[in-house]
Amino acid sequence: MRIDSTEKLGQWQKECQKRIEAQKKRVLVCLGPGCLAGGSDQILEEFKNILAQKKIKDVTVESIKKTGCHGLCARGPLVVIEPEGIFYSKVKKANVAEIVEKTLEKGELVEKLLYTDPESKKKIVDYKEIPFYARQMKLSLRNVGQIDPDSISDYIARGGYAALAKVLKSMKPAKVIDEVSRSGLRGRGGGGFSTGRKWASCAKIESDIRYVICNGDEGDPGAFMDRCIMEGDPHSVLEGMIICAFAIDSPEGYIYVREEYPLAVVNLRNAIDAARQHGLLGKDIMGSGFDFDIKINRGGGAFVCGESSALMKSVAGEVGEPRAKYVRSVAKGLHDKPTVLNNVESFATIPVIIDKGADWFASIGTKKSTGTKAFSLAGKITNTGLIEVPMGITLREIIYDIGGGIPEGRKFKAVQTGGPSGGCLPEAKLDLPVDFDTLTEAGSMMGSGGMIIMDDRTCMVDVARYFLNFLVEESCGKCVPCREGLYQLHKLCVKICEGKADEDDLALMERLSKVIQTASLCGLGTSGPNPFLSTVMYFRDEYLAHIRDRKCPGGVCKELITYSINDKCTGCMACIRVCPVNAITGEKKKLHVLDQELCTKCGSCYAVCNFDAIDIV
């Protein structure tokens, strides 16, 4: 069906809603990256197979829906049964028959699959009551985990493309830009630049053509919210882009998706085809006379291509080297034409702003950082996963109330935000409100929203070394301060980790950092020293322990530690089997022995020991 008027969209929405309401029960199987690795695709198949054979009243094969990431990856694979919101976690293929028989047929619960609250030990049925979900507010993730990303009618049923219809029917481009400006939305890719201002300055520039680009490169290690939006709700990105195109009068848009996200490409491509087929993309969108189309570009696996000027080079089929930005890309972007480039989450938020109004959006969050922000929680935290919270919430609330704190009774040490351009914040900063400006003042940054939690078994010097190594590998090499400066900074950091440095080296690193920050061409270089500078600011003691005492307090840096086996050893042979250099010997049920001469300190024995029998000194 071609939607040739905004009224027709309203009718279609009602039909789509009716079709969904006609299904008395809906089974949502999470096919997000976490659950998929746990075999949720097989769970989905099993549901379909069983329901195809069985005749159950009100439940058909159509009641089974694959969805994007539901958020609580730590407990995956997840299955949710609507309308009750029954939340089953750690589901296995073998549990499916029981779920069908008990819950779908008889309306009973499968107790063992329910979520148990770690504090009260009570079983929680409805996921909305689980602390992880209860504290969240989902705007950019509003549909992720709720709809089948391949079904445009699912998106329409939840009010999809209504914001676009409103724009096309009743708003002038200037009014759209004004609405986005007043909402206070700042770029969710990490820069935090006002989205409305970006659009306004692009629209003002005289040109025969303007472009819209969606940055789906998400190269920050530890960040996966853009991936989940592109995979789980691709239409919301398209709708945001079309609204932007209307506001700045652009006929052509591109989505640049990183090479590592093949499913995002497939789902976006399907969404583009479906939108085109229904007259929501392409020529004469919804009969309004407005034309706009979108192409997908796959990245080639280069971190620097997340930088806007490098990304545009890459879209044009060239090597992705950034350029100096004396002239901004809103004036000279793709093919030297005015271009608006926003990230995935920003575009996905646009329809909500148009739909509910700028004032409503601006009332959420803080004064200077309005709305909500999606974060991915990873590392040493109980509830790893995907969340969205109002700006201004504290780090402590995110890590402890939503994230469930640090597992295995260990102690919190730091939270890394903002990826390789960001920094590590210590416990003393946990009560900081999370917004663009506060995080920057504290020496870190919002970044695209990756949050990696580290416990006392993490070495902060090693973390700095890790990020510096990453940046050395990913530097495009065009400018000297980044190419040579980061290389030297990394070399000095390795020297500290190996216990060969003195305090002059540390001072040299700090001086070198200033030069790199000042003289580099693009964001990769200017923010490159951040992981070092923030760790040395908050964890100087740890650096000094490496330098003065030749000790690694986190027990990570190989040159400064030794492994040994204590008398808790039960002789289970697990470490013997895993040791890659045969440094451990011993018989079953007898105390094992570790040969220090052979040991390469890889830590495999420590990782597999179940009896606390390996000491690190």
Binding site: G219, G222, G299, G317, G379, C602, G603
Partner: protein
């Protein structure tokens, strides 16, 4: 070494418009077909798009996704994103390197295995992560990594 047929190369390249903006897409298609970028295919691509061969090589060596060397049947990718790093990705890599007798970035002589390092695949919640061809393995245990690779 596998035999590469010129007709196949032309067919793969020909799916794209013959202009320089297609360069990266062409390289992606060649790599998808042959698992690496054979020299002869790069020459064909340069002719087809009308760009100097040096420019093709420039892109082929800049982007990490491309390989100029033949790769194995099974591409084992070990994620070394931040979350995977602090959860022991190095241990997994060491196990695989010892077990398969090749280093990261290398292919075994029988062309069965290639080990690669990837800087985050966006599946951080199940760190450490390993990908065998296209299959994701989350929460990989050090002692299970090699078995998973051989079985998969």
């Amino acid at each position: 070494m596998r035999m590469i047929e010129i007709e196949k190369v032309r067919e793969v390249i020909g799916q794209n418009p013959a202009d320089k903006a297609s360069l990266i897409a062409v390289l992606q298609d060649i790599q998808k077909e042959f698992h690496y970028l054979p020299q002869m295919a790069l020459k064909e691509a340069a002719d087809y798009m009308g760009v100097p061969l040096s420019k093709v090589y420039s892109a082929a060596t800049f982007y990490k996704a491309f390989s100029l060397k033949p790769r194995g049947e099974k591409i084992v990718r070990v994620c070394k994103g931040t979350a995977c790093h602090i959860k022991g990705a190095d241990l997994i890599l060491e196990q695989l390197e010892t077990g398969l007798g090749i280093k990261a970035g290398e292919t075994s002589e029988d062309l069965k295995f290639t080990i690669e390092i990837v800087n985050c695949v966006g599946a951080c919640a199940m760190a450490p992560v390993m990908i065998v061809n296209d299959k994701y393995h989350g929460n990989v245990r050090v002692d299970k990594a090699l078995k998973l690779v051989k079985k998969d």
